[in-house]
């Protein structure tokens, strides 16, 4: 069975049906639908980071670089005055960002631990300053994307991206597929070696595996999906700006990941929702929301050692 843990199955049975029905509850309230879409997109991004950090043991502080690149690549390759095909451009963006990840990963993965954190940060900052200083990409303000892609596939128009509800379902669908995708590769023979490289790289080398190659493959996969999330984000509001690839974005994603529970993959969704929920709550309570937000996160990290996902797992174990 793909979803082995009870907590995981429980989460999926509650979360996805609930999210499917959400637009009915919200009854066309565009603000909340858009808000939820962007949380789903970010959850997808955090999930790709969880695969790197939690499953591969590769801690990066530069993952937002691919989030931003997803948007910028889309801006660069798409023609200005013509609606492009969504599926074709999804493919392009994943391939191009995978190619970039291959080169970056080749450099970055020679290091590990704290050095890897530093070098991923450095490379991400290089991209950040490149885009925020360049005139043709609109500097710190970023650029606008005026036309949304159309989504016909084999001549059938599937949905309309200008419609927030349609876009919401696209995000939900993407998130679900990403979850299943990660679960499949984690359960595969490839996943077996990835688990081995995380837990004991020395022994894995002694058994004859080229650890570097497996890490590189994982890095490329996670980066391509991170870029896909950025591509969705840029489509939602029709703009790309350098803050997408700033280190704060990477840092926020890491915090969400730790809140949700590292390595569980579905915890990424929990973490993103918990973080955004807290954010929303404190923001409406006080101007100094960051103070409370920070304290709440510190408390949660201390109390929930394995994140929210780990806590749910423990609860279910106790009951059974």
């Amino acid at each position: 069975m793909l979803f082995q843990k009870r907590s995981e199955r429980l989460f999926i049975w509650i979360f996805f049906p609930l999210m499917l029905m959400m637009p009915l509850f919200l009854d066309g309230n565009i603000f909340y639908i858009n808000k939820l879409s962007s949380i789903l997109i970010f959850a997808l991004f955090v999930m790709s980071l969880d695969y790197l950090v939690g499953r591969c043991g590769l801690i990066t502080l530069g993952h937002a670089m691919f989030y931003g690149l997803g948007g910028y690549i889309f801006y660069i390759i798409a023609p200005q005055n013509e609606a492009v095909n969504f599926w074709v451009y999804t493919f392009y963006i994943c391939v191009i960002s995978a190619a970039i990840a291959l080169i970056v990963g080749f450099l970055v993965l020679r290091t590990s631990g704290i050095y890897m954190i530093m070098i991923t940060l450095a490379i991400a900052q290089m991209f950040f300053y490149y885009f925020s200083d360049s005139m043709e990409f609109g500097g710190i303000d970023g650029v606008f994307l005026y036309l949304k892609p159309e989504t016909s596939f084999l001549g059938i128009k599937m949905f309309d991206l200008d419609n927030p509800t349609h876009f919401y379902y696209l995000c939900l669908f993407s998130l679900f597929n990403t979850l299943v995708f990660f679960k499949v590769i984690m359960a595969s023979k490839f996943g077996r070696v990835v688990d081995a490289t995380r837990e004991n790289p020395e022994r894995t080398t002694a058994l004859g595996y080229n650890v570097f190659v497996f890490r590189l493959a994982s890095y490329v996969i996670a980066s391509a999906l991170g870029a896909y999330a950025g591509y969705l984000f840029s489509m939602q509001y029709g703009f790309v700006n350098p803050s997408m690839l700033s280190w704060q974005t990477s840092g926020t994603a890491l915090v969400m990941l730790i809140l949700g529970g590292m390595g569980s993959i579905y915890g990424a969704i929990l973490g993103t929702f918990a973080y955004e929920g807290l954010h929303y709550f404190f923001e409406h309570l006080t101007e100094h929301w960051m103070l409370f937000m920070g304290s709440a996160i510190i408390l949660m990290v201390i109390l929930l050692k394995k994140g929210i996902a780990g806590y749910i797992e423990k609860l279910l174990e106790k009951r059974s």
């Binding site: 359960a187 023979k189 490839f190 996943g191 070696v193 081995a196 004991n200 002694a206 004859g208 595996y209």
Partner: protein
């Protein structure tokens, strides 16, 4: 003497000014158990680490089946069938014993870049892994998480993992370290079986085990080769007595 599996020619390893290994020339033959003994710091583990590619030699050559292998990548040693176990238990603690061996077996079974095939749906691979566990007497522990089995059993698992890689040379670094008497006896029995099939290089402090198992013994002192010979020859050698056994009643 049967076919030579591994040969070292003038092997040296220097750490700065320290000569951990100095000009070691040895041959290890197939289907023989060759022990390496010596006091602490004699360079036994360093030699093993060179033979399995963890360290690169400062100078000298290593030949496997008459081909030089000292410049190949560390993981390539295992692919040539040079498997090693570690002095400090070096397993995947959160995985089950069976999974530990399955990781080892999957290397030569292939398909490690298969993203879709579920890892637990390959009977051949799991069978190999299970067989390796049975060989070391851990068959009943296959579904137990490796961190939860006893220390002695972890040592057995360590050997099972090497066996699951289908090696031709076994480099065993103190497989009996920290084991109880009964567990040691089990490993000795196991090694007796294994040396009929494999070329084994054994580094071990338990001298009873070494004398019982070895076809050849090499004694090392301070990174230098002192003597190589049969059990009886080494036992009678006055230099060995002086350097190693004769320093007191203490047995290392």
């Amino acid at each position: 003497m049967s076919q030579v599996m591994i040969e070292t020619e003038g092997l040296c390893k220097h750490w700065g000014g320290l000569k951990a290994l100095d000009d070691i020339s040895l041959t290890f033959a197939d289907k023989e158990l060759h022990s390496i003994v010596g006091p602490n710091g004699a360079g036994k583990s360093t030699l093993l680490n060179l033979l399995c590619g963890t360290y690169k030699p400062t100078s000298g050559r290593i030949l496997h089946k008459n081909e030089p292998i000292d410049s190949i990548k560390p993981y390539a040693f295992a692919r040539r069938g040079i498997g090693r176990s570690f002095q400090k238990t070096n397993i995947y603690p959160s995985a089950t014993c069976l999974e530990n061996c399955a990781i080892a077996a999957q290397r030569y079974m292939g398909g490690s870049f298969n993203f879709l095939k579920p890892r637990n749906k390959e009977p051949v691979l799991l069978h190999i892994a299970e067989e390796a566990l049975h060989k070391v007497g851990l068959g009943h522990r296959k579904d137990t998480v490796a961190a939860a089995v006893s220390y002695g059993e972890q040592r057995q698992l360590e050997i099972a993992m090497v066996l699951a890689t289908s090696p031709c040379v076994l480099l065993l670094d103190e497989p009996m370290a920290g084991m109880g008497h009964e567990e040691s006896a089990l490993i000795i029995e196991l090694l007796k079986q294994l040396k009929k099939e494999y070329c084994i290089v054994l580094v071990e402090h338990d001298m009873d085990a070494v004398f019982e198992l070895s076809d050849l013994i090499t004694v090392m002192v301070n990174g230098q080769h002192l003597v190589t010979g049969t059990v009886d020859a080494v036992r009678e050698d006055p230099r060995v007595k002086e350097a190693y056994l004769g320093q007191g009643d203490e047995v290392y």
